[in-house]
């Protein structure tokens, strides 16, 4: 009975050879007990009123004695809470997908960019492959690739990526000055396909307009045909029309524009249509003032501290989408790239803007996970009535 009352995580903690003298615990009491009648173990308890429980400290012996008291129902360890998720991850409701049990665990994602800082603690143990196509070595001597990789799959506490347990592959195709040739990017794409990754992030591009028939865009489409979800930046050449360049104009990729955390489209976010008249971008994601991993020795962005830096661009919006794709693939491994693209587009929140500015709207991780369209805006007051509105919300899956 005593064992049943002590949560297994706490029992393990107590049994550990390096167990602390005191443990932080939460004790749950029988429902009808007054606070004064609650048996205590340690000093200065914090009593909760919404639930019959108290938080305190106790030695292992005190915990065992508490557990035999009939007034005590359960004793848990008072575990540290991971604080303050990055604002943009919360905005697209990635934490709700994590709570549902999906963190991108083991999904192979390639960041084709300026490389990565493999010593950054937020990637520890998850970098499965690094390749260099620039001749500079695979380390990130710019900072962009590390920042992008952090948004996709960083496992920090405060600044956590969208798929914090995904496997990371990096192809360095952009040089230390942030530029590269289309052929270098194509080489990185082919390498990523050979590694059998499921998602590729391309936070890069050239100037528009384009029609998607160039060699880089068609390589992206060929990767999609091989079963890889490819997320591409719309580019920062906005706000003029047809400012999306290659490979953002590729037909089969998900092209991602940028908005702020309050869903205002970034002025720099490139606009469609493509030169052959197709609507682009496909969706927008947060890409303004995004704090993510900082590469050692690189000066990219506005440093927040030794490990993180802040930056803006469609480069920052795109890995939000790639991270969501990894979450969806963990939840439903059989989804094709086309289905993931459709899911992200069909469940995006309509911002009420022109399609060549917002695509289908701002994509939402949780709504995409549910696979249900965002609820339409509420009808104006007076029509068609509260009951109809409630029914509409229910039908829309809210």
């Amino acid at each position: 009975m005593t064992e049943i009352k002590i949560a297994s995580a706490l029992a393990e903690q107590m049994a550990a050879p390096d167990a602390p003298e005191e443990h932080r615990i939460i004790v749950r009491y029988k429902q009808d007990l007054t606070i004064a009648g609650r048996p205590l173990a340690g000093p200065s308890p914090h009593h909760f009123v919404l639930v019959p429980a108290a938080a305190t400290r106790a030695t292992s012996e005190q915990i065992r004695r508490l557990a035999v008291n009939p007034a005590v129902e359960r004793i848990w360890p008072d575990l540290p809470v991971r604080t303050c998720l990055d604002a943009s991850a919360a905005h697209i409701r990635a934490p709700l997908v994590w709570e549902a049990g999906f963190t991108g665990r083991g999904v192979p994602v390639a960041v084709v960019d300026t490389g990565i800082d493999p010593s950054h603690p937020d990637f520890a143990g998850r970098i499965k492959g690094m390749e260099d196509f620039t001749g500079e070595g695979p380390r990130d001597n710019h900072g962009h690739g590390t920042h992008v990789a952090g948004i996709v799959a960083g496992a920090g506490t405060k600044y956590r990526g969208i798929a914090p347990e995904a496997d990371i592959y990096t192809a360095k195709v952009l040089h230390g000055d942030g530029s590269g040739y289309m052929s270098e990017v194509m080489a990185g794409l082919e390498w990523a396909v050979q590694q059998q990754v499921k998602v590729i992030n391309l936070s890069l591009g050239g100037m528009g307009p384009c029609d998607g028939t160039d060699a880089l865009s068609t390589t992206c489409d060929a990767a999609v045909d091989r079963g890889v979800m490819v997320c591409v930046a719309a580019g920062n050449y906005g706000p003029g029309p047809s400012s999306i360049g290659p490979p953002g104009c590729a037909r089969k990729v998900l092209t991602v524009g940028a908005c702020s955390n309050d869903d205002v489209i970034a002025i720099f976010s490139a606009r469609g249509p493509t030169s052959d008249g197709r609507v682009k971008p496909d969706v927008v994601m947060p890409g303004v003032d995004i704090v993510s991993c900082r590469a050692q020795g690189a000066g990219m962005g506005t440093p927040v501290d030794a490990l993180y830096t802040r930056s803006s661009g469609t480069s920052m919006a795109t890995p939000h989408a790639a991270g969501v794709a990894a979450l969806l693939l963990e939840a439903s491994p059989d989804l094709s790239p086309g289905q993931i693209k459709e899911r992200l587009m069909n469940t995006a929140k309509d911002l009420g803007l022109e399609a060549n500015t917002q695509g289908e709207g701002r994509a939402d991780a949780y709504q995409a996970y549910l696979g249900e369209p965002h609820a339409p805006p509420l009808p104006p007051p007076g029509s068609p009535g509260c009951l109809v509105s409630i029914l509409q919300l229910l039908m829309a899956g809210r």
């Binding site: 000055d177 942030g178 530029s179 040739y181 890069l204 661009g313 480069s315």
Partner: protein, 100 residues
């Protein structure tokens, strides 16, 4: 598919001695294509199986001559791309080609 963009074709003809970076899309066997490209005076940098494309450097006149080859499907310039974060883009634009 157009074999070459008109503006790029004009540039090649105007600067026949200038070295250019090209992406050459070919039909048929890739290894035969790379051999032939070398014979024609191009330096093969990389070849891409996903799209049957070869990245080369060559003179403008060689590039123009390649257009006559029946196995050459299309030629385009191997253009630069840039990281799309605002600071990176600025740096990339101002220092484009520095690593060449």
């Amino acid at each position: 598919m157009r074999k070459i963009e008109a503006a790029f074709h004009k540039r090649l003809k105007e600067c026949p001695d200038q070295t250019v970076r090209l992406l050459v899309r070919v039909t048929g066997d890739m290894s035969q294509a790379t051999t032939r490209l070398t014979e024609l005076g191009a330096t093969v940098l990389r070849s891409f199986g996903l799209t049957n494309t070869v990245a080369v450097t060559c003179s403008g006149s060689t590039a123009a001559a390649l257009l006559q080859e029946p196995w050459v499907q299309a030629i385009e310039e191997d253009r630069q791309v840039f990281a799309q974060s605002n600071g990176a883009e600025d740096r990339g634009s101002s220092q484009g080609g520095k690593h060449d």
